[in-house]
Symmetry: C2
Subunit: 466 residues, 2 copies
Amino acid sequence: MSVLRRGNGASVEEEEVMEVEASPLVRSATADEPLQSGGSRRRERGRSAHGGLQSSHRLLAYSDALISIVATVMILPVCHTKIRTDQELEESLQQLLATKIAVYIMTFLIVTVAWASHIRLFQVIEQIDDVLALLNLACMMLITFLPYTFSLMASFPDDKLGILSFCVCAIIIGLIQAYAVLALVIFLPYITQGTQWCGNKIKGQKEIQRVSFYTFHPNEPLSKERIEAFSDGVFAIVATLLILDICEDNVPEPKEVAVKFHGKLFEALIEYGPEFLAYFGSFVTVGLLWFVHHSLFLYITKSTRLMGLLNTVSLAFIGGLPLAFQLTHEFAAKSHNEIEAIQISCVIIFLASLFQFAIWVAALHNEKENLHHHIHYGGKEHAFMFAKLSLYPSVAFITFCLTYILSRFSTEIFHLMQIIVPFAFVLLRIIVRIALVILTWLFSRLKPRTSVLNEEEESVISGNET
Amino acid sequence: MSVLRRGNGASVEEEEVMEVEASPLVRSATADEPLQSGGSRRRERGRSAHGGLQSSHRLLAYSDALISIVATVMILPVCHTKIRTDQELEESLQQLLATKIAVYIMTFLIVTVAWASHIRLFQVIEQIDDVLALLNLACMMLITFLPYTFSLMASFPDDKLGILSFCVCAIIIGLIQAYAVLALVIFLPYITQGTQWCGNKIKGQKEIQRVSFYTFHPNEPLSKERIEAFSDGVFAIVATLLILDICEDNVPEPKEVAVKFHGKLFEALIEYGPEFLAYFGSFVTVGLLWFVHHSLFLYITKSTRLMGLLNTVSLAFIGGLPLAFQLTHEFAAKSHNEIEAIQISCVIIFLASLFQFAIWVAALHNEKENLHHHIHYGGKEHAFMFAKLSLYPSVAFITFCLTYILSRFSTEIFHLMQIIVPFAFVLLRIIVRIALVILTWLFSRLKPRTSVLNEEEESVISGNET
């Protein structure tokens, strides 16, 4: 529904709304009418797909899903790089870092840039027809091909073919988008008018539709709904990349079970125990990071470019989680590598959650515009949000420190810690709530103002996390 | 936004709306108020997440994405089964069919059943709090684990452990969902009332919120928006599974290029030519099947259980497309297997598109309830839809026949055909439009009624396809 991607309303006169209705392809600058008047009619029309025009909502959802999966998929070649257990992790990591991680990060950023330009395009185009839908699919096909050109560039840095193929893809994507804007948005109204005029002449009718022109609204911020959809896609694919590995590699061979474990399947599965633990631990981590992201974006009303950028960086680190999973469950034996794998996992989780925290800070910077009015700095909801956002960075940091302090730290302990975290989330809410009730009661007795509450809350929260 | 999952409105008195507002967790049976009155206020509240309650919209979108990916992922073990080129395809296919395809289809159906029960659950629950969101994530984790229990069952049919682990997962999922309904929906209102009463006693306030009880609306059809989201997920992951294979396998080794092709990268890439063609062909096919699905669901206002079932079967076949891709690009050499691979691809595409057509037929069966009012049987929009839906079954059928008639049919021709189809879609629309204008003009001259138009359109369409 196109209504979803609309700013909060300002009352517009009925006549102006009518004019907006007459130009269905173009997202008008004056289209800020409230939902109660023109919006519901527009929605009605958007869903009915009359005269070949359709609401672009589902096209955008599908594009978001495709782009988010493609952005994340390039972590797989990094994960599937075989590391020999006798090798030092540091050495093989350097080899990894040199090409594949660079390819992953570059792909993620480039694909996100393509996605951002796609957002900007569909801020102009509100409704689509079949040709535009097909062009968009062609665009998506080329975007999905970008990762391949990148791995080509990384494998053959001296050959110009990689860069050439990347540029060709980028130029064609740009041309399709330019065509969409130029031909369909600027010239189509004239063409439609012309053909309609001809058609009506033949049919003998005299009704001619008014067609208005292209208007662009460049100050519209990044669409919050599309950022959510893109993030959902990344989280979903990261969570399921893990089960993909489990299903492919961890089903024991019937022959092996018969010979090695005397036909006892349960004993064979116990051997895979650490991997299941790793799977559940990682799924919980991805799920909770999504949960924090979800809670965060419930409070945000408008997303700025900075917040979009911070979100992209956070998602890029979340895309690195399958690598962390691969590392921790590959070195189940107690070795020097095992501790290093846990440390890398901690760093990835720490950075991913820290950039989520940064989104919150960026939103607080312009509190009145970006956040809901009842979430003021120092309020109750603010305390909850602060606690939720700071839980993962502090847990990751503490775990990182523990690997140095404790001598017998292992991946099992690490994954058990990951599984315990959700209970911390549940407890967090209860403890913060009880603490706030007590504090409010205390302060209402001592003195009437409550602005000192803020520092108190923070100390309660940090006390709860340790 | 919860507004999305609401039926079309009937005017309700203001007092009743207020009562609905007071029970935020429960999707009420009387909640059919139009968007203009209570809906916009509800939406406002749903987004603001006041008092720990949140709109469930994004949670559902994320769940849909996860479930659709998990349902489709089990095609990968089928695809990655190594088939020796000297082996006859039929023999190895029998081996495949025996276990892995059965596992894939069973997983797909079971996961879809879990998804359907998830839909039903969230038809009751309208808004969520943090505990419910975390419980939902736990539920998702177990659903993602179901495919593994299935592959265990298939590998060890005699061992009870596979069935046992599957049952344990299913029971825990059921318990969590039952807990959500029982504890949160039925008992939570009392608990909330109690704690609020206590809290207000301590604070010295006297305002007590009214809390209404659990109401269930079992006759609500399957949510159209969630079917769309689930389908989008399946289409997106199927389209990107292809690029995943390309990125992992088709980047040539630097050493091989230096020795075999004298450092000429372009010549090395030409060797992969058929695979790129296969990728583009398959992406186009998946994209266009999504496009047809998208066009179809634009016209549908309400989805019945039968349509949901047909959609699931269609999606299961679409999930089989990576297998078709794997088969066609594995047998690039001119052999008996190559023709069989093309035939299997045709059968998969034919069945997937045929079940899409069946959705349309099922929707036409109760035209007034399920379709938009201006899409009547025999109208212009109906003709377009009919043409779109029948294009893929007929193309697949004709290609299947061609493999018997033509002696020199190859995968290259097959993939080129796949890439040509979108132009057929564009042409289709133009030809149907011109034909309709001519026909309308002719019939308006000959006789005033236009009901005979329908047969004429069909013959025009089939003439266009051949």
